[in-house]
């Protein structure tokens, strides 16, 4: 017998070991997320997929689906919290959409549009972060990193290389590269790595192709993220 739970009143079937996010994705129900990618082990750090499960706030990507659970996702309160979470991400890094070559194909920007975030209302941190352009085919702009750890997971689990790591603590947490100089060009990173194609924002970018697709004709320019899905689903290896 197939088991079910509901998301905002819609009946969603699920199988053993599926999370709320897995079941929702399979049923075509969009729950906003940034650090989740079904290819990799969920980690639940961005917290955008926070939903109310039988009255408790839980991350949909790490919470196992249970029979008859009542899940709320698209409520006014949860959407307001998601907007605030997005504002936190925007002020933490240096996200300048009009000047970013990822604009229009950036999941952070797309989710912000979907959730109705209009402006970052909090004090900007303006952190001093560097750009690593040492690799011939890829660049890392740490200004845009949102610490989703997808590249860390992809490099470790899919590529078996562990090119990326997370160091520091608290607000000083940052992405690092495993190489003698700490530079990408000095590492085992390759353009065919899975880690090269999972970044939801403009932090890990291929060189020389920035404006091949003009602004206005990009992934999220005509359809919202809730219909198009994750940016990594549309990246060509």
């Amino acid at each position: 017998m197939i088991r079910h739970f509901t998301i905002d009143g819609i009946k969603v079937p699920f199988q053993e070991r599926q999370t709320i996010m897995d079941a929702a994705m399979a049923a075509g129900i969009y729950i906003p997320h940034l650090c989740h990618n079904p290819e990799f082990r969920p980690q639940g750090s961005c917290r955008l997929c926070t939903v109310k499960v039988d009255g408790r706030n839980l991350a949909a990507c790490t919470t196992p689906a249970t029979d008859h659970a009542e899940v709320k996702s698209n409520t006014k309160k949860l959407m307001a919290m998601r907007r605030t979470l997005l504002q936190l991400l925007f002020v933490e890094g240096n996200h300048v959409c009009p000047a970013c070559e990822k604009s229009g194909a950036c999941q952070l920007q797309a989710v912000a549009y979907y959730c109705g975030m209009l402006a970052p209302e909090f004090t900007h941190f303006y952190p001093q972060r560097e750009v690593d352009a040492s690799h011939p085919e890829f660049a890392i702009d740490f200004n845009r990193c949102i610490l989703c750890e997808l590249c860390v997971r992809a490099s470790r689990d899919a590529d078996q290389k562990s090119v990326f790591a997370i160091s520091g603590r608290g607000i000083h947490v940052h992405l690092t590269v495993n190489s003698p100089s700490g530079k990408l060009g000095d590492s085992d990173f390759d353009k065919h790595d899975r880690a090269a194609h999972v970044c939801p924002v403009g932090a890990i970018l291929p060189k020389h192709t920035g404006y091949d697709v003009p602004i206005g004709k990009r992934l999220y320019d005509r359809k919202p993220v809730s219909m198009v899905g994750d940016v990594s689903d549309h990246e060509e290896d």
Partner: protein, 591 residues
Amino acid sequence: MTDDHITETTNRVMTQWNNDQSNLLQMLIDLQQALNGIPESAINQISAGTRRSPADIESVIGFYSFLHHDTHNPYRVLFSDNITDRMLGSRALAEHLNSRLQDIDTATVDYTSCTGMGDQGPAALVNGHTLTRLDKERIDQMAALMETNTPLSDWPAEWFRVDENIRRRDLLLETDFEKGSAIKCALESGAEKILEELDASGLRGRGGAGFKTAMKWRFCREATGDNRVVVCNADEGEPGTFKDRLLLQSFAERLIEGMTVCAKVIGATTGFIYLRGEYLYLRDELESKLQRYRDAGLLSKDIHGEAGFDFDIKIHLGAGAYICGEESALIESLEGKRGIPRIRPPFPVTSGYLNRPTVVNNVETLVAAAMIAVHGAAWFRTKGTEQSPGTKLLSISGNCLKPGIYEYPFGTSLEVILKDCEATHVQAVQIAGAAGSCIPPSEFSRSIAFEDLATGGSFMIFDRERNLLEMVQNFTDFFVHESCGFCTPCRVGTSLLKKRLAKVASGRATGVDLEKMRIIGSLTRQTSHCGLGMTAANPILETLDKFPHIYEPHLLSTTFEPAFNLDASLEEARQITGRDDPDAHLQGGGV
């Protein structure tokens, strides 16, 4: 320091820890103790030995605030920066030491989170070793010793003395304990009987959450998996707490036996005491007590003569990370990783240390379990309330004449406690540490109990002379420093709260800023990954509700104020353009 010396020392430390990558953190701590820091040149060697990448090793060093690369400073002084230390003048002492040492470059002075000496502060750590009762005279003497490069072993022992400071004894502390008695009783009764007794006693976890101990042990006993593990959480990091320090220092036999009783019940072979780095001074004595237990046949192989009952206990040190008091982060740290709380389920009882079934209990819980094994549930229930049987150790500090450790039956009211410790003109009591509750006098009839005011043991008193906003800022700074940085709301939210509070304190805030603090605070409370984030905004949210008067006098009457002075920020532009005429200024600071 020669390269050969570094290579040799690194080799020795790694061999000592079996080149086992799950002991990485312990290797790094020992290496730092031996060489005054972790030389960057040692990283590749550690990487080769442990098969963990250099970036991975750096990420562990980067997580723990006590670990550092610099090997040039023979002295590193960290002042305990809890509000209670500050109230005793710690900041002025640190600045004084800093000014004394200005001309020598062999020492650094900095701050660290509460070192667990709230009853005998101001306190500090020098190269990891605890200093208590600091005053200006002692700071001068310390500076003189540092100027002459006197090794710590030649400093007066008195400076490192940590007193017990027991002010009130009850069930646990006044009852004698015979070495081996808890293990003997457990073996005679058998695991199932012991578990029934523990269940009947109603013992609940003393770390603060209050989960029923018997239930935790039973879940673990019934879980599938070999090589079970007992972990004692001695990472007493909640600001203002120091009662586990006493138990580890003077009642360690009970702790060792409590762990052994647990091992018998759940079928564990391995035990860990995860000792916070701030309690380094307790390690050697604990090690020798463990050795005495082994020598007496009460630990290691065939314990108490029971063939096949093998269990031993290792000590792992922390390195300055409050989050490692969270049980799943503690397990990550035991495995030599960054202390990031795990996703739950699975819970440690089914998948803990190296994915084995694991019980993690607070020091006080394990001590109580040992006593229950000897004296039974009825004895334990003679004190406390129906829902909170037994007693609770409180660490009392702040504005009172008799700070120290007090053992009270659960159900004791704040009024009684404040009278006993001779606190007068009390403005507020902060219960359960930085993440706890701030209680105004109108609620002093409330009592310490899981059903009323639950606490891990921290009890900080503030009299009417104190500015509570400083307390709120201190606790908020603490969470900024201790957030692991894994999830968005805690990582970013705590820093934003700190900024807003600074705006309030500087007199530039308006009602809108208080509203923003509520929004961010409520977000971190509702969406964070773990308990730290969920409670990090408590100091602000609690006081906004119960002590609004600490904010209101600071507010401007306008609805909006920028965080900076607009006119002043134009100064650089005026200098560049050489202008100072009225049109180059904004009237009223720009608002």
